[in-house]
């Protein structure tokens, strides 16, 4: 099934935004979370995983291969 490319790209953007906020130590994030907690680290990893999966999905479709077909590269 072809993905909705726009939707997949927005999913990547959402993941990157969340990752940026988690890693930026934004001054509005309270001091006790300045050192990344395990939870924040997991959130950041989840965001990376989501972004990677969406990009892989898009790349496979745009290259005419099936989902996850990265063997050509």
């Amino acid at each position: 099934m072809e993905p909705d490319i726009g939707r997949e790209l927005y999913r990547v953007m959402d993941a990157l935004v969340a990752l940026k906020c988690d890693l930026s130590c934004d001054p509005h994030i309270p001091g006790e979370t300045l050192v990344l907690s395990a939870e924040k680290s997991r959130d950041a990893c989840d965001a990376l995983e989501t972004a990677s999966a969406s990009i892989r999905h898009l790349a496979a479709v745009l290259n005419g291969g099936g989902v996850g077909d990265a063997s050509k590269h």
């Binding site: 939707r7 927005y10 999913r11 953007m13 959402d14 993941a15 935004v17 969340a18 940026k20 906020c21 988690d22 930026s24 934004d26 509005h28 994030i29 309270p30 979370t33 939870e39 924040k40 959130d43 989840d46 965001a47 989501t50």
Partner: protein, 148 residues
């Protein structure tokens, strides 16, 4: 006995679980209360009629329906007239901004570049509500945010 001031109550309309989690953790860290969330317009409209939160964070692109549907329903049905309505979207263009504001949004933010401003706004509004509660000043109703 001193009454404990009620925390800022926040509702999130957002289809991205990752962004929902980010907003929820900020709400919690700010001492506010996440009273609910929804990934689609119909659920949000039903919830908002019952919950009457102080702050509503609204994405435009949802699983079904849109943030515009939510804003329109709030406006037409006069649901949560005093709630602060903040739009946070990847579709940050003047057309969407104008439509959001005309449908009653108080602020409009670009998710890609202004999410940290929304996090700051949540913290500021939560602190303001706490202070107002502890001061018990009945004349001080106004929020301290700017309408974009």
């Amino acid at each position: 006995m001193q009454e404990i001031p009620k925390p800022l109550q926040v509702y999130v309309v957002e289809d991205s679980p990752i962004i929902r989690r980010l907003l929820a953790s900020t709400v919690e860290a700010a001492g506010a209360e996440l009273v609910g969330y929804s990934a689609d317009a119909l659920t949000a409209i039903a919830d908002l009629g019952a919950l009457q939160p102080d702050l509503i964070l609204i994405d435009i692109s949802l699983d079904s329906g849109s943030g515009f549907d939510v804003l329109r329903a709030l406006q037409e049905r006069n649901l949560g007239p005093s709630a602060i309505k903040v739009v946070l979207t990847n579709h940050a263009n003047p057309e969407y901004q104008n439509l959001s504001l005309s449908l009653g949004a108080d602020s409009f933010f670009d998710k890609a570049s202004e999410t940290s401003q929304v996090l700051a706004l949540i913290s500021a509004l939560a602190a303001e509500k706490r202070q107002r509660g502890s001061r018990r000043d009945p004349d001080n109703h106004e929020g301290n945010y700017n309408r974009n």
